[in-house]
């Protein structure tokens, strides 16, 4: 059971991350990868961050772990601002936030054995005596259901699913409180994905972990996340509990996403919004359309949409949406 659901472990406020990609006559050109994001994650929950490629979801992840320094905005972790690069963070803070990358083939060093890979966090962060390493390693591998003989194998000699399990074990090694999962299963087959997801859910209960789960797979999120946030071009469109999310999607982009998911049963088909069909493509984050960034693809576009960027509105408790369609409703009330 998840107990303390109310204290926020991570709070992101007006986070912006721009990348300088060159210059023209008007001045420097920026890729606005993350453009004013507010998000909070409660202790012990799983927040799903969903978006198409280029929407800035990985940039958020990398900023939270400290691979990038935010352009502006705050990242509060357990009440402390951590909006600085990892090199300037305290060691005890780095231990608390861990990340699992998308492709385990490139996140594990192919020239090291699994033992070398898994001992590194202990050597950096703890003063565990060397003779206890072995015991710790075996315990770690047991956690992810791998046998101890994997210690002497190297990443290229094991399968993709097993590699990802090793990467997860490495992230779990020091009992962190927040784990960022950056598309951990999108490179894997469904039967392997199911195994890894179930393991992650078990470990979360066992170790009281908080997950920030980044993915482009909506149907996976339905089964994993407590809450889902949808991102589009560096901004959050809609945040809601995962059940409400699929029963009553209100943002036009969310509706488009859900209607695009290929499904395998009749019940699922009934959940898909019928009238919405997907059109257009995500524009480049260098030239973000003025006003609401989604308006060129939107089916309910109004004149106001191309001029003013909508504000975040609380549609119902816990259900936040950023769209002019609902701003009007609010004003009428």
């Amino acid at each position: 059971m998840k107990q303390t659901k109310n204290n926020e472990i991570l709070k992101i406020e007006k986070l912006k991350k721009y990348f300088n990609v060159g210059k023209d006559k008007k001045g420097p050109i920026y890729v606005r990868a993350v453009d004013g994001v507010d998000l909070n994650i409660k202790d012990g929950e799983t927040l799903g961050l969903v978006g198409e490629s280029g929407s800035g979801k990985s940039t958020i992840a990398y900023t939270v772990v400290g691979m990038y320094r935010p352009t502006s905005g705050q990242i509060m972790f357990k009440g402390k601002n951590i909006g600085i690069e990892a090199s300037r963070r305290a060691l005890s803070l780095k231990k608390e936030i861990q990340i699992v990358f998308q492709d385990p083939g490139s996140s594990l060093n192919p020239r090291q054995t699994i033992e070398q890979i898994l001992t590194l966090p202990f050597r950096i962060h703890t003063q565990t005596p060397k003779r206890q390493f072995r015991k710790k390693m075996v315990e770690l591998l047991e956690k992810v259901e791998l046998s101890p003989d994997y210690l002497y194998k190297s990443p290229p000699s094991i399968g993709g699913g097993e590699k990802q399990m090793v990467a997860i074990a490495r992230a779990m090694a020091l009992n962190p409180s927040l784990i960022i999962l950056d598309e951990p299963t999108s490179a894997l087959d469904v039967s392997v994905q199911a195994k890894i997801i179930n393991k992650l859910i078990d470990l979360q209960k066992e170790m009281n972990l908080t997950y920030l789960f980044i993915t482009h797979d909506l149907s996976l999120m339905r089964n994993v996340a407590d809450r889902i946030a949808i991102m589009y071009l560096g901004k959050i469109c809609e945040v809601a509990e995962s059940a409400t999310f699929f029963e009553k999607p209100i943002h036009p982009y969310t509706q488009m996403l859900i209607s695009s998911v290929p499904v395998v049963t009749k019940e699922e088909e009934n959940l898909k919004p019928k009238k919405v069909i997907s059109t257009g493509e995500i524009p480049s984050p260098v030239n973000i359309p003025p006003g609401c960034s989604f308006h060129p693809r939107c089916l309910y576009k109004m004149p106001i949409c191309s001029k003013i960027d909508p504000e975040m509105i609380e549609f119902s408790p816990g259900h936040i949406v950023r769209c002019h369609l609902f701003a009007k409703l609010e004003n009428k009330k």
Binding site: D189, L220, M256, L257, P262, V263, V264, T265, S278, I282
Partner: protein, 329 residues
Amino acid sequence: MKTKEDILLNIKDLHVWYRVYSGYLKVLNGIRLMVREGERVGLVGEAGCGKTTTMKSILQILPPGDFHIPQGQIFYKGQDVLKMSFKELLRLRSREIAVIFQDPTAALNPVFTIGNQIGDVIKYSATFKDNVHKEKIKTQSIKALKEVYLPDPERMYINYPFQLSGGMRQRVCIAIAISSPRNLLIADEPGTSLDVTIQDQIHRLLNELVEKRNTAIILITHSLGVAREMTDRIYVMYAGTIVETATPEILFKNPVHPYTKGLLASVPKISGGGIARGIPGKLPSYLNPPSGCRFKLRCEQEKPICSEKPPQLLEIEKDHLVACYLTQR
């Protein structure tokens, strides 16, 4: 009008091996697959189960010198592809079968314009005797680009692939495939490298074009959901064998083979309800595949007979064939 009863492609007991340093990888192990004219067939399986090898053997574009076909036949319109001369194969590839590859970035040549690449396909698909003029090729290419709803096809014609987005590149690949009349279209995971909304658009476009032209299509995919929405009949592949084939309605209502069941249960659903535990174990090594049924090591209902010889694909009801001893006496 073509009838759906005419058999276009018939693969019989196909075995394909790849030569490696330590022996042969016995990848395909008795594939049986049939495509009727105008039929949409889905080939579903996980990574490494031989879907792409099947596609490549139909066109005979397997890596030269590295493969070995110990037995099997591939009949296209009654003629065995494996016994065709080089000239006949060229004809097959240029006029009869078109392919859409998984990665549009790799499929298009970065140093030629889009127009150039479509034009080539049209040039070689037309009868060689006919003197097709440049203008004619151009109008036909632009017509093809229009048909896949690319904005501003005239400009697209002189663009290079890197100037387009991933979704647009895949549309160009589809335009190339449909630019000349073909009887069979093989789409190898056409939407996999794209986002869901773009994938949905590409699939709808393919469906529309196939219906309009009455072309048969083999859709290779790893997603059961895509196969369900796109095809008339689904073949489920596991480790180089066809384990089950049925129409989507039957397959999703009543899956019989333990592998199909496990695969279906592993698919996350948007109606919620959690995910099953997945299928234990992993694909067997192709170097020394297990004797008999190739799924037996991961199967929970393994019987002694499973190790004796591979199960045959037998009909258990109309349009529903299963290769498993659990359903056979």
